[in-house]
């Protein structure tokens, strides 16, 4: 008798361990990668490199914060790649006229406006968010090319760029500290405030949200404003760091792909109702570290894409397989005999 009990509890414990590991898979992957790359990749383990990783993650990480919120709401925003490019372009283009503060605010404002448009179209006009953001992506790229005339914009003022990449406490820079501050701020908002928790309710079950008196439309509009606003902030900071932007749509699209991959690795569900901003941030760090490690081995961009694609594919596959298996085993009780014996005793 105790033997069978033990087997149940041990299988339960194994299940629990697997569950915990899956819950924190972004962290587990990051630690595993970190140890592996530190041992095997030449020049990976250095203060300078860690600073590079943290600073390099800032664009995707800031975008991933908003994107997680959109996923939690059960929506999709394909326009962030275009929004961040437009915002970066505005930030550099307006700098001579408005100064850095003014141009930064204008750039962030452009993101907020586009977010408002997206949110209104999704919530009030009730158009599928995939369609809406596909359309606004095309429009925003058009606006970006129109503003930049298909060329690039640059400024001669490198003070802000230098300031953003100054070293603080060995591995941090102002840019990475701003990123971490944004991540923590929104993570606290989502987990600690009643307003933030509402996003989970709206995304998980809109009928419950309606019964609980939450205004679904308002949440969706605010979600899109946060997402596109943050994408614009990320794009503006990225442009400030480089002091120039080229109207090269690929950068926006690659960031979009990276953000989607990071958010999925972080365990946020595309169907809505579940997600964690800090885990998405860790997901971004995983992808950036992988790319950095591949660079350390002297391999090129193509290997990075290849590996990133495989990671994303594996995570999607794993997630689909878990659901598939759960549905397959639905209603089955593999330990029925032991359970019966236990209840008899």
């Amino acid at each position: 008798m105790p033997n069978s009990e033990k087997s149940i509890s041990s299988s339960a414990a194994r299940k629990n361990l697997g569950h915990t590991l899956n819950e924190h898979r972004a962290l587990a992957m990051l630690i595993f990668l970190f140890l592996g790359l530190s041992v095997f990749a030449p020049n990976f383990f250095s203060i300078y490199n860690f600073r590079t990783i943290l600073t390099g993650a800032s664009l995707s990480a800031i975008c991933a914060v908003g994107f997680t919120i959109i996923f939690i709401l059960g929506q999709l925003d394909l326009s962030i790649g275009a929004v961040l490019m437009l915002s970066g372009m505005l930030c550099i283009g307006l700098q001579p006229a408005l100064g850095w503060t003014g141009s930064f605010l204008a750039a962030a404002g452009s993101g907020v406006m586009l977010g408002l448009v997206n949110g209104l179209l999704v919530s009030k006009a009730k158009i599928n968010s995939f369609i809406v953001t596909l359309g606004t992506q095309i429009i925003t790229f058009g606006l970006m090319h129109l503003y930049s005339d298909g060329g690039s914009k640059a400024v001669n003022d490198f003070r802000v760029a230098d300031m953003l990449e100054r070293e603080i406490l060995w591995i941090f820079t102002p840019l990475s500290l701003i990123t971490i501050a944004i991540v923590l701020l929104f993570a606290l908002m989502m987990t600690r405030t009643r307003f933030g928790k509402g996003f989970f309710v709206v995304g998980g079950n809109s009928e419950t949200a309606w019964l609980a008196g939450l205004n679904r439309d308002r949440y969706i509009i605010i979600g899109f404003i946060i997402c596109d606003g943050l994408a614009a902030v990320g794009g503006a900071l990225f442009a400030m760091k480089l002091a120039s932007v080229t109207s090269y749509a690929i950068l926006g699209n690659k960031t979009l792909l990276q953000v989607i991959a990071a958010v999925i690795i972080g365990g946020t569900l595309i169907t809505g109702g579940k997600g964690d901003i800090v885990k998405s941030f860790l997901g971004v760090l995983v992808l950036i570290s992988v790319n950095n490690g591949i660079g350390c081995f002297g391999l090129g961009f193509e290997v990075q894409m290849f590996v990133n694609g495989i990671i994303l594919a594996l995570v999607v596959l794993y997630e689909a397989y878990t659901v598939y298996r759960k549905n397959l085993l639905k209603g089955q009780r593999p330990n029925l005999l032991q359970e019966l014996e236990k209840s008899k005793a």
Partner: protein, 343 residues
């Protein structure tokens, strides 16, 4: 939800369905195409000429072929296949790489290579029910990395491939001529596009496979309990999608005279735009192939008219995006009024 009761009752109340709404549902996109035709006549005297129409058709032919494939995925309720650029580029690269074996075997191998990726997508999405957007995105990413890696970021020129393998370079000229062949006054690619639309319209409406696709798109659960092999249908759908995109890939490779990983980029979103403009809804099981052809035609007409008006490409994108949201918004509103929108 506040308005749910109303929606439910109107869903069964056929009489309240407006004539306009029903007409819009069937042929809305051709109304827009007609309006564009009228605008076009006023914009330029050169608009209403045979050669201009042939130009429009030639310009949208590639998009049309890619949209044929995308339509299947949208029709069976799988939102979108973002791996379409990978099918196109991969089939093109394989065709060019296999040219020493002869033109026809190379093309067949190219199509098979594209269909292989399609089969992988179909298997994962059909069997495991993975999210189609995320999975195909991952595959597109992975395939681009793979193609860059395997051919070390370089472009494959047909004549060079043939020279290095010591074969007759005439095959390369035949391959390059595929895109440039005319059948009478009509380019081959336009003939292929129209033939594909007609065949697929027939498949959609007259064959068991097409009807099963519609059922799977409308409701997977119902299809499953009716006895439809959902996995098989979705697998076949993705293979057809990949086949269509691969045909497009061979044309685009022939047009560019080289095989390389970036060919076909952008055709994923463009094809979704055309398909959804043509009245296929993301909820699946709705719309027709002729509608999709209308969507492709509208995009071609719009680009043509805007070019006549002297609008540059960037401004054209803004107009296209706005019209896209507007048309789809109106269509969805009409469907909701009829109680037909279950998305």
């Amino acid at each position: 939800m506040p308005g749910k009761g109303e929606e439910n009752s109107s869903r069964f109340n056929r009489n309240r369905q407006s004539m306009l709404g029903r007409f819009y549902d069937k042929a809305g996109i051709y109304v827009i195409a007609g309006i564009l035709l009228v605008i076009g006549v006023f914009v330029s005297p050169n608009f209403l000429t045979g050669s201009n129409f042939m130009n429009i058709l030639r310009a949208v032919a590639l998009l049309g072929i890619a949209s044929c494939g995308m339509a299947f995925v949208v029709y069976n309720g799988n939102l979108a296949d973002l791996a379409i650029p990978s099918y196109m580029a991969f089939s093109g690269i394989i065709t060019v790489a296999m040219l020493p074996w002869g033109l026809v075997p190379a093309i067949i191998l190219g199509l098979l290579a594209g269909m292989l990726i399609g089969a992988l997508n179909g298997l994962v999405i059909g069997k495991l029910d993975a999210n189609p957007i995320l999975w195909t995105l991952a595959v597109a990413y992975f395939m681009e990395g793979f193609m860059r890696f395997a051919w070390s970021n370089s472009q494959l020129y047909p004549d060079q491939i043939l020279e290095t393998s010591g074969k007759d370079t005439a095959i390369a000229e035949h391959f390059i001529a595929i895109f440039r062949t005319d059948i009478g006054p009509v380019p081959l690619i336009v003939v292929v596009m129209i033939a594909m639309f007609l065949i697929l319209q027939f498949v959609f409406t007259r064959t068991k496979f097409g009807l099963q696709t519609k059922l799977v798109g409308s409701s997977r659960e119902v299809a499953r309990s009716t006895g439809v092999n959902v996995t098989k249908v979705i697998l076949l759908n993705f293979i057809v999608t990949a086949l269509c995109a691969s045909i497009g890939g061979i044309f685009i490779t022939s047009m560019n005279k080289l095989g390389v990983f970036y060919l076909g980029q952008g055709y994923d979103f463009k094809a979704v735009t055309a398909v959804v403009l043509g009245g296929m809804m993301q909820s699946g099981g709705k719309g027709s192939m002729l509608g999709v052809f209308g969507g492709v035609l509208v995009i071609g007409l719009m680009t043509n008219i805007l070019t006549f008006m002297g609008v540059n490409t960037f401004q054209q994108n803004i107009v296209t995006g706005s019209i896209f949201i507007l048309v789809v918004g109106i269509h969805q509103y009409q469907l909701r009024k009829q109680g037909k929108d279950y998305a």
